[in-house]
Structures are given as structure tokens and as C-alpha cells.
């Protein structure tokens, strides 16, 4: 973790700015592209934390998979320059009230909690360590979640195919 304050402000500013635009934009395709920028900036934060594999997975899966899937489904179900109506004022104010109340409460609690800096030596996270821990069956091993998530992804694939195919 280097003292790169400028990169932190760049990435978090990008995340917050584009996520606000993504949830308030009136054109749906632009909302998807703003979401893409927010996810790419999130992977920038993972790069800052020295978790390069996770950042690569975030870029490949989220920015390159899920956002592409969302854009395809937008183009399948809308006209390409589809524009939303304005959200009604009641919904907007209620949503804002709920979101700001929750955010204020959480941030207030966060600031008051004394996070103790740790003196442990950071583990060098390279692919060998990740692979060994992923297939480990002992303590701190993740073989069982790995197998379960393979089954989950298979079930999701089959479910998506069965749901989306044309009925009789």
C-alpha cells in the first residue's frame, strides 16, 4: 500500500460520480456505460490494495461480462435511444430521505469506531498462494466453497437457458 493519495481520490471520485449518474440518468444505455466506469474504477481500488488477481477478475467478469450482458438485454428490450420519464417527486424524495438517513447513520458509526492498525506482516499475494489456498482442504482452505460455486454456476447456466428459451 503506497501513499498514493491522488490515486485514491481519483478512483473514489470516479466511483461516486459515475454511480450517481448511473442511478439518475434518464437514458438507459448511458446508465449502463456509467455503471461500467464505476466498476472499472472499483478494480483500480483493488489494484491499489495489491490484490492484482482480484482486480483482474473484477475487470474480466464485471466490466467485461455483466455490463456486456446488461447492454445486450437493454438492446433486446428497448429502442436504442429510449428515454425514461422523470421519476415522480414523491419517489425521489422518499428515496433520498431513506438513502441519506442510512448513509449518515453508517458513516457516523464508522467514524466513531476505533480501528486498530495491525502489526502483522502483509502476505505477498501471488497466484501460487491463491491457487494453493483455493484447493486446500485443511484449515483456511476453500475447496468446499469452490466446488459448491461450480455447482451453483452450472445451475445458473441451466436455469438461464430453460427460462429464456422460447416456449411452445
Amino acid at each position: 500500500m503506497e501513499n498514493n493519495v491522488f490515486m485514491f481520490y481519483l478512483f473514489s471520485g470516479t466511483i461516486l460520480f459515475f454511480s450517481v449518474l448511473a442511478v439518475t440518468s434518464r437514458r438507459i444505455l448511458r446508465a449502463a456505460v456509467f455503471l461500467l466506469f464505476a466498476l472499472v474504477a472499483t478494480s483500480g481500488i483493488y489494484f491499489m490494495m495489491n490484490y492484482q488477481f482480484l482486480a483482474g477478475v473484477q475487470l474480466a467478469l464485471y466490466a467485461g461480462g455483466i455490463v456486456v450482458l446488461i447492454i445486450f438485454s437493454i438492446l433486446l428490450t428497448h429502442h436504442i435511444s429510449y428515454k425514461f420519464d422523470r421519476t415522480p417527486l414523491v419517489n425521489l424524495t422518499l428515496g433520498l430521505v431513506v438513502a441519506t438517513t442510512g448513509a449518515a447513520l453508517s458513516i457516523f458509526t464508522l467514524i466513531r469506531f476505533p480501528f486498530k492498525p495491525t502489526a502483522n506482516v502483509p502476505a505477498g499475494v501471488d497466484m501460487q498462494l491463491i491457487g494453493r489456498q483455493l484447493m486446500d482442504t485443511g484449515k483456511n482452505g476453500y475447496a468446499l466453497p469452490f466446488e459448491v460455486i461450480s455447482i451453483l454456476l452450472l445451475a445458473a447456466m441451466i436455469a438461464a437457458i430453460v427460462i429464456a428459451k422460447k416456449g411452445k
Binding site: M1, N3, V5, F8, L16, A22, V23, A31, A32, L35, A38, L39, T42, I45, M49, L54, Q58, L61, Y62, G65, I66, L69, I70, F72, S73, L76, T77, F84, T87, N91, L92, G95, L96, V98, A99, G102, A103, S106, I107, I111, F115, T118, V121, P122, A123, L129, I130, Q133, N140, Y142, I149, L152, L153, A156, M157, A159, A160, I163, A164, K166
Partner: protein, 102 residues
């Protein structure tokens, strides 16, 4: 070293922006996009806690990895459902999808 609360405040704001989008948006695909924002904010939380409080272990890192995989599976099933709904109702506003199959 950037203090941990800075990162946590960024992820908290991202979470509540996602919640605002989830409550306000009336198109099913934009609701899905808000859910993706929420999941990403939680991922940032896990990674930051791992790096700052337990840097010699990798539990937050693996949890974030599994969350990404699960979110991908969930998004694909959600899109399949949305396409099926569009075929039936020709609209994917949450107000128009109000009939259950009888």
C-alpha cells in the same frame, strides 16, 4: 497510508447510492444495475478489511472472489427472467408487471 475510514466511507456512499437507485428506478434492468452497485460496495468493504486489519490472511479476498462469481450467476438468471417477462408483457416497467400466471 490512507486511513481505513476513508475507504469505508467511499464504499458506504456507493452502497446507499445503490439503495437509492433500487428504490427509485422503475425499469427492471436499472434495478439490476443498482443491485450490482450494492454488491460492488460490499466487495470493496471486504477487500479493505482484509488489507488493513488482517493482512496476513486472505479470507476477505476469497469472499470477494466468491461474491463476484455469485453476482455473475445471479445477473444471468435475472436477465433471462427479464427477457421472458418482456416476451409476455412487452414492457419491463415494474408497474406493468403485475399479473401472476393463473
Amino acid at each position: 497510508m490512507i486511513p481505513i475510514t476513508h475507504f469505508l466511507i467511499v464504499s458506504t456512499l456507493m452502497f446507499f447510492i445503490g439503495i437509492y437507485g433500487f428504490l427509485t428506478r422503475r425499469n427492471l434492468i436499472t434495478v439490476l444495475m443498482s443491485v450490482e452497485l450494492i454488491l460492488n460496495s460490499v466487495n470493496i468493504n471486504f477487500v479493505v478489511f482484509n488489507r488493513y486489519l488482517y493482512p496476513d490472511q486472505l479470507q476477505g479476498h476469497f469472499f470477494a472472489l466468491f461474491i463476484i462469481a455469485i453476482a455473475a450467476g445471479e445477473a444471468s438468471v435475472a436477465i433471462a427472467l427479464i427477457i421472458n417477462i418482456y416476451r409476455r408483457f412487452t414492457s419491463i416497467e415494474v408497474d406493468n408487471v403485475d399479473e401472476m400466471k393463473f
